[in-house]
Each structure stands twice: as C-alpha cells, then as structure tokens.
Symmetry: D2
Subunit: 113 residues, 4 copies
C-alpha cells in the first residue's frame, strides 16, 4: 500500500476537478496564473511585518498564511499533475545540483534555499 | 517506518540550510519573497504560449518548467516548515471547504481549483 | 511649469505616506512585496479567461482590473521613488536595448514586449 | 503640445510591438503573466537583503533593480494600453479612496501604500 500523502492529495484534486468538469479551465497556463495569484495573497500577509515578526506571527495571521500556503500548494500540485511532473523527484534533482553549486560557507544566491 | 516522501524532502531542506548556516536568511518574509521570485520564473516559461500549447510543451521547455516547479516547491516546503505548517493537512482542510463552496455545476472562482 | 503627470503622482504618494508616518514601512523590500501582492490580484482577475475573453472583458471585471493595475502602479512608483529610479528613463533605456536584441521578424523572448 | 512622458512611452511601446507584429502575443492575459514574471525578477534582487540593506543597495544591485523595475513598468503600461486604462487617472482615483480609508494615525493595510 502506498500511503504517500502527496500522491493521495494529487488524486483528490483530480477527482474534485473532474466532478465539476473543470479540466477545460485547467490548462497549465491558467494553473500557473492561479499559482501566481495565490502566491501574491501569501506575500501580502507578510509584507508589512519585519523579518523577526514574520518568524513568530500572531495566531490569526498564521492561520491566514496557512490558508494561502495551502492554496499555493494546491495549484502547484495540480499544475505538476497536468504536465506529468513528479514534484518530489524534481525537487531532489534540484537539490542534488544545489549541493554542487553551494558548498559549505557560500551565501545564498538566486535559486538556492 | 514513515516513508512519506514530503517529510523526507522537508528534512533534506532543513539539513541543507543548517549545513550552510543559512537559517538567518530564511525568515518567512524572505522565503515568501523567494517563492514569489520562482513563481515568476515559472510563469515566464508559459507567458507567450497559448493555452493549448501549454498543455503539450516541447521537451526543452517542459524541462525548464519542471526545474522552476521544483524551485517553487522547495521554497514552499521550506516556508511551511519555518512556520510549523503541515502543507498536506492544510490543503485537505482547504479542499473540505472548497467542496462546500463549489458544488457540482459551479464555475471556478477565486481560490478554487 | 512641469505638468508631467507621473511626477505629480509621485509627489502625491510621498505626501500621503509622510502624512501618516508610513516611511518606516516603506523599505524597498516591503514595497517590492506589496507590488508582488497586487500583481497577484491583477493576475487573479484574468486567470480563468481565455486570451480572447481577456481582450474584451465585461465592464465589472474591467473595473476590477483597472483598480488592481492602479495598485500595482502605485507601489511601483513608490518603490522607484524610494530608490531614486526614474521609471520613464529606465524604460526608454531598456527599450533602446530591446530594439537591438529584437529586430523585425523575431519572436518575443523573455523580457521583450 | 503634450509633453507628458507617460503618453510618449505608451506610444513607443505600441510602435515597437506593431513593427514586429507582436499584437497577437499581447493579449491582456499574456501581458499580465509577463508583468508577474518581471515582478518576480525584481523581488529576487531584494529577497536576501534586510530591510535596511534594501534602502541603500550596492550600485550593481541597484542597476539590476532599475532594469527589473523598467521591465515591470513596460508591461504594466502595455497592459493598461491594451485595455484602455489610464494608469494615472486610475491611481488618483484609488488614492482618493485610500485617503478616506486610511486617516492620519492608521497603520498600512492590504492595498494601502
């Protein structure tokens, strides 16, 4: 039995969309736009906080950030599914490259966590 | 044994950051900005394609989209971890609400896949 | 008399912020986040429309797009002002480079209108 | 003679696109995506800086921010032109509303500079 939580969520999102016949709206182009829209909502929750405040947000704000992170995640999973992308594999491949590019002692650059 | 792939990736990202002492850069504020930056790169790959072209991109473009989706995913997982957010649980909670808000026959609205 | 509309708007935004003592919130970092947040709201208005529908949106949607475009513009002008950037000059400099990079007959690439 | 710099830039962008027959790529949907892509590039320049560092960036970084701000501005002006939106008028209308919503002494909220 595959109890992988990400695969189960991916299937739930497919079923939800199919039950409403929304596949016609779910071109990767549109899904990328929706992802950007939700990323904007997440950013808006943190824009006036200092970095330190953002490390320990008040409970109400944290719940809103949780909701927006969920929305970003939902559209990312849906977009990956639409294009046959395995997000976990792709992330590990990218981290393999990051380990080469950013040895111990280097500062973060664009694209590196 | 918990072979959940998302939890394993989360741990890899923690270890990578700790090994480079990058936690000071990884405030949720900064991680949200990095997420937005990578979302922008993903969008840029699809902006001049039609919706139909976006459903079947050429192999080179698909690989770039895969890389950008990986970057978005990496920062989202890192941001969620920094704030103690379980992305899978949060996504399911949001989908429970979406099932109430969008019964069969409705059109997608803001926030709905 | 300088009746340049962009300079007049820039001054109005400075006065608005000063009257409320908001300069402490208006670091370029925060202003860039606010810009991204509003860009997300603008994108959300168009994400489920086809390209053709987006060329002729219904009146209510067009008004919302107008409001979001205004918000994006306001933060962009404020960010430029905070960093001493003249947006018009910078745009013309970029277009000078674009004319070199994209001769007649070429397709749009990243960064080219 | 109308020496308004924004109107002159708007015309230059129209001419550039027409000379390359790029109007077919310039649906508002695509222009909004391009705007989001460039916003992402701008954000990426500031994501690892502190707020204070962002107020006084090094010369090389400031030049890159200037270039990205120019790209954001170019796509915003092009998008507004495609939809018949006067950005300056729309911004003033929004600021009129902001003056009602945010009297002296209030903190910035979503949508307020």
């Amino acid at each position: 039995m595959d109890d992988d939580r990400l695969r189960a969520l991916t299937q739930r999102l497919r079923d939800f969309s199919a039950a409403r016949q929304w596949e016609r709206f779910h071109s990767p182009k549109n899904l990328a736009m929706a992802l950007a829209g939700e990323t904007g909502e997440l950013i808006a929750e943190l824009q006036w906080l200092t970095e330190d405040e953002s490390r320990a947000p008040a409970a109400e704000r944290l719940q809103r950030v949780r909701d927006e992170a969920a929305d970003v995640f939902i559209y990312l999973v849906r977009l990956a599914d639409a294009l046959g992308i395995d997000l976990i594999e792709a992330a590990h491949a990218k981290m393999d490259r990051n380990e080469q590019r950013f040895p111990a002692g280097s500062a973060p650059g664009h694209g590196a966590p």
